[in-house]
Amino acid sequence: MCIHLITKASERIKRYLFIFIPNGALSYQSGIINCRLMKLSNIFSRRNRILLRELVITDFKLRYQGSVLGYLWSLLKPLMLFAILYIVFVKFFKLGKEIEHYPVYLLLGIVMWTFFTEATAQGMSAIVARGDLIRKINFPKYIIVVSGTISALINLLLNLIIVFVFLIINGVDIRWSLLLLPINIAELYIFSLAIAFLLSAMFVKFRDISHIWEVVLQGAFYATPILYPVSMVVAVSPIAAKVLMLNPVAQIIQDARYNTVTHQTVTVNSLINNPFIAAIPYVLVLLSILWASWYFKKSQKYFAENV
């Protein structure tokens, strides 16, 4: 039931996102656009919704099939990662002592980063993994990528429930700014989707992408202030800290922590005074989704031949 509602809500978001992507079903018409077909686009979008839903459900069923704990694993995995990082970095290396509720702060960052890696990795391989479908059926290809990212989104929402439990256990003050968290999540989702579009389209032609992306993610994990507080970087080099914060994922995670956990969090706005420079991460997100949609739309025509 819960999954059902979440799927529905995110589908709705998706529809707004894709207004600028004309219906894929029409794109094979070379030259002439048939007006009659345009009217059918309503039906197509209904079909797409049905398909998206089934794909997400199937994904979810298959992922933990045969495992005893099943869905619980989507909760357990980030929790275990959190336990490891907490013991290593907070207990041994004594990071984040100056930040209140650091464990929750850390957990939120890990949960959001996990979503980012999951959504991009699943989105990337989505087209290739469903190659059999693409070779035999004509339907808007973006649905497959979206369905991959939605399963990750469902995981994120489940994980956020755990984060809230921790928030309460740790006695964090619940502030009004918490209401801004959905906006941060939406921004993160859009950025992840943009990257998933780019990678999935490239992955059809260059299978090296998956290895490259694995390494990039590994590096980005350390280049993003997830484990360590930004203040640590500022102490060494303020310039480096500013550059670091221009990364949209860093900006989003810090904003989310600011809104949810503690106002001690360093955000782009508090670190960079020039509003134009501080706007860079947001602009990057916007540009990336536009560019990725354009690129995906351009290359999807040949997926069936190349996949």
């Binding site: 094979y28 070379s30 049905i50 035999k136 090296d208 992408i209 069936a304």
Partner: protein, 393 residues
């Protein structure tokens, strides 16, 4: 939509594929190719200049040998591929199914697969629930619906897929090689379904190797060879031409040793209008004509008709007379032989009579079609010969 409007218009369609020379999905290979000037692929023309129209309510067949481009054509119609040049216009909704059971997942149960497959056809969960019982009943595998698909036999999978696929409500249906799978009983089910579709006046595009299905159901068919439409017409004619194409390939590879290829002797098969053709309608006249140059002194001529290397009929001119000062000989025959391919050969004899055999020349394949399915008494029959028959009780 008006009634006379075509359901599908295909105009000047071109499609080429880039065939990579080797495994070419790596970045390294790509870079190497850029520097070495090696394009890394070959251009293969799959379809060139294909045009046809399909009317509303027509049962349309697409026939062709393997690799002729017919599946590519189907994928272009379904919008899976994008044409290089030309137009594919589809008026109305079209079932995107090229194959049965697309999207079936072996790890899911039969029940879950029904819903997934239904979603690909555009049915919501609610709609699928309403028709679920019918689908299960039709597929005759009630007991197994909660088992994983990987435990199904291939026949069960096909039955399930077919039961879902026939629920499609679209205006145009694409069907590719469905009949190639399943046992006789299942094929009967398919045929009955086709009959229903035909009665309901749906537009259907059927791709098949099974000429009897093409002839039985299609109103019109096209034959594709090497990416071109070489015949657009009645299913019977298309079937005959298809058989002939298949046969040509065989002759070229295996059979050339039988008749000597000698440019000085030519064999032609003339229809009643005097045209040299190789397809003949059942029970029409045929004139076998052999011509030779004056390097040969021919005393007598023999004509032989074979089917699958078995002699069907042979005759010679020894009692008729000599052809010594002539350059040709003709024989009129009435062709009441059954549908299929036959080989015509000619043997020449010299002046010295029966022992002066000059050899067998030329080997020509003719195809006979349009044999009636019933004899004069109305009994159904088939085969090479119509034998006198009478039922007694």
């Amino acid at each position: 939509m008006s009634e006379n409007e075509p359901a599908v218009v295909v105009k000047d369609l071109y499609k080429t594929f880039k065939l990579p020379h080797e495994q070419h999905s790596g970045l390294k290979q790509h870079v190497v190719n850029i520097f070495s000037g090696n394009k890394g692929y070959e251009i293969q023309k799959v379809l060139s200049d294909v045009s046809f129209e399909i009317k509303k309510g027509e049962f349309f067949g697409i026939v062709g040998r393997n690799g002729s481009g017919k599946s590519t054509l189907l994928k272009l119609l379904a919008g899976i591929y994008v044409p290089d040049k030309g137009l594919v216009q589809v008026n109305g909704s079209l079932t995107p199914f090229i194959e049965l059971g697309v999207g079936f997942n072996p790890e899911l149960t039969g029940r879950e697969n029904v819903f997934m497959n239904g979603a690909l056809l555009g049915f919501s969960r609610k709609e699928m629930e309403d028709m679920y019982d019918d689908i299960v009943q039709f597929s005759e595998i009630e007991k197994f619906m909660d088992q994983k698909l990987k435990n199904y036999s291939s026949g069960m999978q096909v039955r399930l897929a077919f039961s879902i696929a026939i629920r499609a409500r679209s205006d145009i249906l694409l069907i590719d090689e469905v009949l190639a799978v399943g046992d006789a009983a299942f094929q009967q089910k398919c045929y009955r379904y086709f009959d229903e579709l035909k009665k309901a006046n749906r537009t259907i595009i059927l791709v098949s190797h099974d000429m009897s299905a093409i002839k039985q159901f299609c109103d019109r068919a096209i034959l594709i060879s090497n990416g071109k439409v070489i015949l657009d017409g009645k299913p019977g004619d298309v079937a005959v031409e298809y058989e002939r194409l298949n046969y040509d390939k065989e002759v070229n590879t295996e059979d050339s040793s039988v008749g000597k290829v000698d440019k000085r002797v030519t064999l032609s098969t003339l229809n009643p209008k005097g045209k040299n053709v190789d397809t003949f309608e059942y029970n029409t006249g045929i004139t076998l004509k052999v011509e030779w140059t004056d390097e040969y002194k021919v005393g007598a001529v023999g004509f032989l008709i074979y089917k699958n290397q078995e002699l069907i009929f042979a005759t010679n001119s020894f009692s008729y007379g000599e052809f010594l000062d002539k350059r040709e000989a003709c024989l009129n025959l009435k062709l009441d032989l059954g549908n299929g391919r036959y080989n015509v050969r000619v043997g020449l004899f010299g002046q010295e009579g029966r022992h002066d055999f000059l050899g067998m020349f030329d080997d020509k394949t003719i195809v006979i079609y349009n044999q009636p399915q019933k004899d004069k008494q109305g009994n159904e029959y088939e085969g090479v010969l119509l034998l006198d028959n009478e039922w007694i009780s």
